[in-house]
């Protein structure tokens, strides 16, 4: 079965981000979307810890411990970027000022419920960070994940069994096996990966799917 690589997934997400968009890329896989944003388009990256206009990683040796992203990795600031405090940063999210945020997920329901902060394991130390704010704050919340777990179970589900991050907040899911639009009417398929049919996707996920209009 054909699958998109992680780089191909990141490139696919990047293709849907228009010039001028204000975007927050979550920790982990979503962060790699930045590598595929076209250099000739101006897209504004926000980081929850208080910067807008985030640039690429600095050259080795130029790291500044006071200039980091939400994943605590060193970054740079573009000309035209700026700094602000945490209340202002989350006002940007919660107030609906971000156009897009891209998050990873453990599970997403066909109606757009998101579970990405906890597996609910009894002995785990919980940690939520900005996930809940991001999930419900941006105008569009996109999820980027492999469609199946290592055990072959679909992470696109009728209802999430893991603890929820947000209700009815995800509008699109980018996976290695296809791109899905979610909403009150359930899931529809925007992109099929070459060689993967709608029937095959439906069999793999076990959820009702239609092709998006």
């Amino acid at each position: 079965m054909n699958r998109l690589s992680r780089e191909q997934m990141a490139a696919r997400v990047a293709r849907d981000i228009p010039e001028g968009a204000y975007v927050n890329l979550g920790i982990g896989l979503p962060t790699t979307v930045a590598n595929f944003l076209p250099a000739d388009k101006e897209i504004f990256l926000q980081s929850e810890n208080g910067l807008l206009g985030m640039g690429p990683a600095p050259a080795p040796g130029d790291e500044d411990p006071d200039l980091i992203n939400a994943g605590k990795q060193p970054v740079t600031l573009l000309a035209g970027g700026c700094y602000f405090h945490h209340a202002d940063s989350f006002a940007m999210m919660r107030g609906g000022h971000l156009d897009v945020c891209v998050l990873g997920a453990f599970q997403v329901s066909v109606h757009g419920d998101l579970a990405n902060w906890s597996t609910g394991a009894a002995d785990a130390i919980p940690a939520v960070g900005g996930a809940m704010d991001l999930a419900i704050g941006a105008k569009q919340t996109y999820v980027m994940m492999e469609l199946l777990t290592k055990h072959g179970e679909s992470k696109l589900v009728p209802e999430c069994s893991y603890p929820l991050t947000g209700l009815r907040c995800v509008s699109r899911v980018y996976t290695d096996l296809g791109v899905f639009a979610l909403g009150p009417a359930g899931a529809s398929v925007i992109d099929l990966v070459d060689g993967v049919s709608l029937d095959e996707l439906q069999r793999l996920t076990g959820v009702p799917l239609t092709m998006a209009a």
Binding site: L77, Y83, F90
Partner: protein, 226 residues
Amino acid sequence: MIDKSVASFDAAVADIFDGATVMIGGFGTAGMPDELIDALIAQGARELTIVNNNAGNGDTGLAALIKHKRVRRIVCSFPRQADSQHFDAAYRAGEIELELVPQGNLAARIHAAGSGLGAIFTPTGYGTGLAAGKETREIDGRHYVLEYPIHADYALIKAQRGDRWGNLVYRKTARNFGPIMAMAAKCTIAQVADLMALGELDPEAIITPGIFVQRVVATSAMQETA
């Protein structure tokens, strides 16, 4: 390339529609975006709801907008002033509706809108006529009134310098409501004295990040888009 600068005041306000809610920056005349308001008067939109601290001074700016009978309703803290004659006349004639809000609640409600809060419990106004009929609650021994956010379709504000990404810095007490109105409106239009090249504003000292600003117009007729 993203360039939020607009070549003229007329173009900047062209789509403001009849019945829109428009926040207008300024405390008295400090920070009042006179040129944008003049363009709005020329544009002709009517039945506006205006959010401002005052209700116009003298014959210019917001006072002129009221004089031209474009305002159906005003949300403000301090309409009555020595030179608020145009508001006074319209109010007494029953042509304009007034929602009077304590100044700090006005600021907090605008800020709540920009921050995505659904409502806030504020102590200001508790037990007074301006809280009549509003939900109240005692929290940790203090009394609060539940107040709701004030959103707007447009904000017209005045800053000192801006750039093509919409970043703004202000000048002295002309800052007042500008930064929070920029957060609370769907479309924020800023007039600036100077349009700077990208990167010329100190990133540590930018007061309004460009994400909150949709259009920038330079007052200088000689403006160059950076």
